[in-house]
């Protein structure tokens, strides 16, 4: 069953990504060269669509993952007994190999971006959930006691004290989740979700120039997300940067 689906997936994305410009493609593909600059220069435009698809997959998966995991974390913060079951549940989703998850979902959601995003979102939950919980429980008890003592309600304590102070940990979780998702989204091709996995899959393992280009774009994307999130963190937590007395 799985192998059938795999064949189908390969067939679909295999449609001529690299074969349109035959004359210049094939010599480079055939050589043992690690990287053909000429080929890369002539064909870099081919990576535009997969890159945009990849960005889309990652952004959606992280946004949904954050929305769900953050909500679960807030629930578990209020109701302690939920903490462990939720940790275990997200842990299971995290452990399922993504590629297996895609195939498990195919009969339910069919091929396409939806399936890919669902699997990637499920993969994200654990890290974001765990970091949010850790961040919230690291808020000093004295600060919470003071907040309560001056007359903040539970809701005010959560939004004005606990969450701001948990922000560094929450963003750290988002950074890990985002970087991993950029890497794992290259497998979305097996769910028909597109992305940078398409050229990698199609070029085959011998076409190193193609692998380096697609992989390089993924690395740059991961770096860009990381820097962006770090910048956001520094912007929203100015107190973390002050010189200590």
């Amino acid at each position: 069953m799985a192998s059938l689906a795999l064949t189908a997936a390969v067939g679909e994305v295999g449609k001529g990504f690299l074969r349109e410009r035959t004359s210049d493609t094939l010599p480079c593909q055939a050589t043992e060269k690690l990287f053909c600059f000429d080929w890369a220069k002539d064909n870099i435009d081919r990576y535009g669509t997969p890159t945009v698809q990849h960005l889309e997959l990652v952004t959606l998966a992280v946004l949904f993952g954050f929305a769900i995991a953050f909500t679960l974390a807030l629930l578990a913060h209020r109701r302690r007994w939920l903490r462990s079951p939720l940790l275990a549940a997200t842990g299971v989703l995290y452990t399922i190999p993504s590629i297996a998850f895609f195939f498990l979902l195919l009969p339910l959601t069919g091929r396409g971006v939806d399936t890919a995003v669902i699997a990637l979102t499920a993969f994200n939950l654990q890290v974001i959930y765990r970091n949010t919980i850790v961040g919230l429980s690291n808020v000093p008890a004295s600060v919470k006691e003071a907040a309560k003592g001056i007359g903040q309600t539970d809701r005010q304590i959560l939004w004005r004290v606990e969450l701001p102070l948990a922000t560094p940990e929450i963003i750290a979780g988002l950074r890990i989740a985002t970087v991993s998702t950029v890497a794992i989204a290259t497998l979305a091709v097996f769910a028909g979700g597109g992305g940078l996995g398409v050229p990698i899959k199609q070029g085959g393992i011998d076409f190193k120039t193609n692998i380096i280009l697609a992989g390089g774009i993924a690395i740059l994307m991961a770096l860009a997300f990381d820097v962006l999130l770090l910048a956001i963190q520094r912007l929203v937590t100015p107190w973390e940067r002050v010189a200590r007395a």
Partner: protein, 398 residues
């Protein structure tokens, strides 16, 4: 500015009495109550210290006032109103709260920390800002520090900010839970003095929890000594507590040195000083010797004073052997005390100077009398002196 006038007036009169009426806290079905049927009244504008060994329920008793601990029976009134009349959050905004760990918001600037309660109460920005500046000045911090974060301040500064935050909305009552407990002894003493100075001005009703009897004696207008099981062993002024402990528990808790502690509550002016035979430069020594021979003389050495009656030093036998009183006495003056000095410090000066006698000067530096170790020990021993002390005791605040 009318708004400033308003805050000023409020800060000088905004205090309510706190009355415990059988307040009880029992955890679960525990046989022993944490606080048992507590009934006591703290008059408006006074500091009441709850003191006792750990586990005596003093913190619980304090926290029932702002309902961070809910009592299981009885009631507590602030002014005429039961603490149960308002929601806990509303109630707490009217009560200043200072804790040992300070608990400043690390992600808020000092100014934002101080303005936390005004913000909850929905004050206008201008009013909150003006109040913040006023409070920074009141606690002796440079208003520029308002822009800093708590981590950039020393522990002592942070605790001052904690006090300012508690005072920000001009609360009727202040709760202070071992507020200076985590501060080094030197800063601690300074913070205590600063708070007493503030309190002399603001006259808040303060409930102050500590396990340190010395701090209790220093800070309290009244002290409630609590014992295990949440019962009050004695509720009295510091002087009463030291003079007449209600039972063995209080006596033990106050300590064997309670006689010495009483000295911390008195000033030199509160005691009858001895009169020194005075001698002036150039006076015939025969005259001075005659004065010394009188039977009622209490100090066996003549004290040399200048023309303004300011003490210069003590005359020795050798000085008196000369014809006239020399301008330079043989023995130095030793410790010179003032009438306003706290008796304990005066005794320390005497002992440190290895002196039997110390001259006491008035505000103008003129001789007011002589204090001796003997006067102090007689005073502590005599029951008559004890009853006098009732009327004479002044609080050492200032």
């Amino acid at each position: 500015m009318p708004s400033e006038e308003l805050t000023d007036r409020r800060s000088s009169s905004g205090a309510s009495a706190v009355r415990y009426a059988g307040a009880t806290k029992r955890y679960g079905h525990s046989a022993v109550a944490a606080v048992d049927d507590l009934t006591l009244e703290v008059p408006a504008g006074e500091i009441c210290v709850l003191v006792g060994p750990s586990g005596c329920g003093k913190t619980t008793a304090m926290r029932m006032v702002n309902r961070t601990v809910e009592m299981t029976a009885g009631d507590i009134f602030i002014g005429e109103r039961s603490v149960r009349e308002r929601s806990p959050a509303q109630l707490r905004r009217e009560i200043g709260y200072v804790i040992q760990q300070i608990g400043l918001f690390p992600h808020r600037t000092i100014a934002e920390n101080i303005a936390a309660v005004p913000q909850l109460l929905g004050w206008k920005k201008d009013r909150a800002r003006a109040r913040t500046t006023e409070l920074l000045e009141l606690i002796g911090l440079d208003p520029e520090l308002g822009e800093r974060y708590p981590a950039q301040l020393s522990g002592g500064q942070q605790q001052r900010v904690g006090v300012a935050r508690a005072l920000a909305a001009d609360p009727l009552v202040m709760l202070m839970d071992e507020p200076f407990g985590a501060i080094d002894p030197i800063s601690r003493e300074r913070l205590q003095n600063e708070f007493l100075r503030l309190q002399a001005e603001l006259r808040k009703t303060v409930l102050f929890v500590t396990h340190d009897i010395d701090e209790a004696i220093k800070m309290g207008d009244r002290i409630a000594i609590m014992r295990e099981g949440g019962k009050v062993a004695q509720y009295a002024t510091p002087a009463e507590l030291l003079m007449a402990p209600a039972d063995g528990f209080v006596e033990d808790f106050v300590g064997a040195d309670r006689a010495l502690k009483r000295l911390a509550l008195m000033r030199v002016a509160d005691i009858d000083l001895w009169e020194a035979p005075l001698a002036h430069v150039g006076q015939a020594t025969a005259e001075v010797r005659a004065k010394l021979a009188e039977p009622e003389v209490e100090v066996p050495y003549p004290l040399l004073v200048d023309s303004e009656r300011r003490p210069l030093g003590w005359l020795s036998k050798r000085d008196l052997a000369a014809e006239v009183v020399p301008s330079k006495p043989d023995s130095p003056l030793g410790p010179l005390l003032e009438r306003d000095d706290i008796m304990r410090d005066a005794l320390a000066d005497l002992l440190q100077g290895e002196a039997q006698y110390a001259a006491v000067a008035d505000a103008e530096g003129r001789i007011a009398g002589v204090l001796s170790v003997e006067i102090i020990s007689e005073f502590l021993a005599s029951p008559k002196a004890k009853s006098e002390e009732h009327g004479a005791v002044e609080r050492p605040h200032g």
